[in-house]
Subunit: 415 residues, 2 copies
């Protein structure tokens, strides 16, 4: 069987098991360790795509219910697989596909404005009800920050927003551009807790509608405005620019355009913060399951690729924080909530969608758990002295965030 | 005159002046600002090298006393020049030379072991007495860390070593490898203040001799050992690896070998810290004056180049701190001390050497002041969980460094 041949070759460290249709169970990996999880195979173990695109073969078999987990957890199973791939740079028999995909990358990722809108709609215009089934109550759809274990997802998302405000050196009255504002949660905090004037842009009509509703409801409509605008169409200058979980959708072809937007629309003494998923290893293709079903046009960059573009932009890199396990914890909690709401999700969509979403959350958790993926927070400016010389201000803030009462209708505070 | 033609074309922002041999003074740059400094030219304004290698032309004229500063400071003069170069990516008429040098880079930087020793001897085997004329009393010959303005160079160098120990998560008994240990100051601190067992390696016999003498004198010879060893010849495994101001001498050709050394000699749960000068912009040639007179074989990498190699190595990037103005402050103090000791330096060498050293310190200060150069501190590990999830431990250390009494002769503490 092709699946058996692949796993025999791939799994050297750790252990997993597979129960085949004939009732036999085979173990793979280190014979001295117990398998962490067992996959039951009803059909598809000889799908020829296991040879040239094992990721899609596995994902579609899982979505169709041909593959199911019978013992142990999907994340544990996938973590063993990913760790073996990462440790030895194993490209399986998928080398050809990967090479082809690398060549096709500029085309796959040619996210012009119209294409970008379609890509965004694919994911973010899914029913808002779906996102309520696994996200926190602020709908933060990016990595949370866990200052200590055991806190709630809500607290960890609040901590993330606080870290970002800190790195932005945010002051009342600052004009802030939020590129890829999602459902507006960060913009509302920056306006409501820190007294900033925020312009949030998104390409998702669902996100725009909800963000505007939330700003109205919070009495912040004057200070948190939202627009359906592509980053390449931004007008004006801003004291601060923030972009969380959006760079993954830019595509390598447009990295220069993205950082040029930041450079050209940032005040001379301004500060920008880009928060993006990244890969630890060298540049490589997006996982084909994620690219086909979850984020078309999406790409996880290596830091070397991001820096290539930052260096060309003329922006000054002030800091890079690498969040290694924070997204694994976030995804674990998202998946826990999703699994608890499985019936509601199935009522919204169908069983195949639910299996796909489960696999998406589980495979991402596994890839952050094993270290193949991380989050980069890049703090950028136009001048070397726009940010303090040491990072102490992030860990010993001098004062509490200003109250919203400090909103100013005219005049900007300059550091 | 060629110098006049070059400056007219180059200087748009800020202002400088030049007094020519015929007694006329010309101003360059923004006509609304006063010149920050005036260069007096006795000869050399028509040196044809101004066309194809202005950096060497300027440097040699300065070393020979044909160019002198008559009003304002050399750093201010060079800062205006560098800022204009950096802002507009101006390559002057030196485009040809730069292109040629880029192609020659793998040869220039082919720092095999024998060549590396010769390069090191060129700079670091200079009389120790010279270094005492401008460095702090611990002979820290790398960027200091200035937690607040106005502290002494000695305090800022101590702060640097403390930051490094913090990022290494150093504990008593840890086996530490210090690649490029200089005169041993860091190794002696890590052993003496933190109870580590340190092996320092250098290619400079002058550095080796002094480092060993200092370890003996401090009663730390058992815990801080030094050897004349190339990084490619290291043996054994270490809990921690640190390398400060050495990566600049590795050469792009050997970046993979350098990070492979760290990967292969670091314990599975180990932590490494690489501290190196970097450039903010895209990769480019080393300044030809620095390459010819100061650091043959040296190279200032862009972060994209460093990350290319880190990503290939399989090491996990845990943090990148970008020190922007710390080296400008350090060099300012080094130069202040050097100028105060000019007579002693001239007695050791000669006037031309002193002018060369002054230009070296001043041009480096200017390039850090304008942001063209920075320092990168990369924290690396083999495992995602080798370093805490947040950076709080760096800014809220739980305990004081352990006393040297905690040295253990057997057994290693594992986190």
């Amino acid at each position: 069987m092709l699946l058996d041949a692949l796993l025999k070759r791939l799994i050297q460290d750790g252990g997993i098991a597979v129960r085949y249709p004939d009732g036999t169970t085979r173990r793979y990996g280190d014979p001295t360790v117990a398998p962490v999880a067992t996959l039951a195979v009803k059909a598809g173990a000889n799908d020829p795509r296991i040879l040239y695109d094992p990721s899609i073969a596995f994902a579609e078999a899982y979505m169709d219910g041909k593959f199911t987990m019978v013992e142990g957890d999907l994340v544990a199973f996938l973590s063993v697989v990913l760790e073996n791939i990462e440790r030895r740079g194993f490209s399986g028999t998928a080398g050809l596909t990967n090479t082809l995909r690398r060549w096709l990358r500029p085309i796959e990722q040619f996210n012009r404005i119209t294409r970008a809108r379609a890509n965004v709609a694919h994911h973010y215009d899914l029913s808002g009800a779906l996102y309520d089934l696994f996200l926190d109550d602020d709908r933060q759809y990016s990595c949370a920050y866990w200052p200590k274990p055991g806190i709630s997802l809500e607290a960890a998302q609040a901590a993330k927003k606080q870290i970002i405000a800190g790195k932005l050196l945010l002051r009342p009255g600052h004009r802030v551009l939020d590129i890829g504002c999602g459902w507006g949660g960060l913009a509302l905090d920056l306006a409501g807790l820190y007294g900033a004037d925020v312009t949030g842009i998104t390409l998702s009509t669902e996100q725009l509608t909800l963000a505007r509703q939330r700003a109205e409801a919070a009495g912040l409509a004057e200070h948190a405005r939202f627009a359906l605008t592509d980053y390449r169409e931004v007008q004006g200058r801003f004291d601060r620019i923030v972009s969380v979980g959006m760079f993954e959708h830019v595509g390598v072809t447009f990295y220069d355009a993205y950082f040029a937007t930041i450079r050209d629309h940032l005040a001379d003494d301004g500060v920008a913060l880009v928060h993006t998923i990244g890969r630890s290893g060298p540049p490589g293709p997006t996982n084909s399951f994620i690219a086909k079903y979850i984020f078309p046009g999406g790409y996880t960059p290596s830091l070397s690729e991001v820096m290539d573009a930052v260096e060309r932009s003329g922006l000054v890199l002030c800091d890079v924080e690498v969040w290694r396990l924070h997204y694994a914890e976030t995804l674990k909690e998202w998946r826990r909530r999703f699994l608890a709401n499985w019936d509601k999700a199935e009522a919204l969509y169908d069983l195949r969608f639910c299996r796909m979403w489960d696999l998406y959350l589980a495979s991402c958790e596994a890839s952050f758990r094993t270290g193949g993926q991380v989050v980069f927070q890049l703090q950028l400016s136009r001048r070397s002295d726009a940010v303090p010389m040491t990072r102490d201000y992030l860990y010993h803030p001098r004062a509490e965030p200003a109250a919203p009462a400090e909103h100013r209708t005219s005049g900007r505070r300059r550091a």
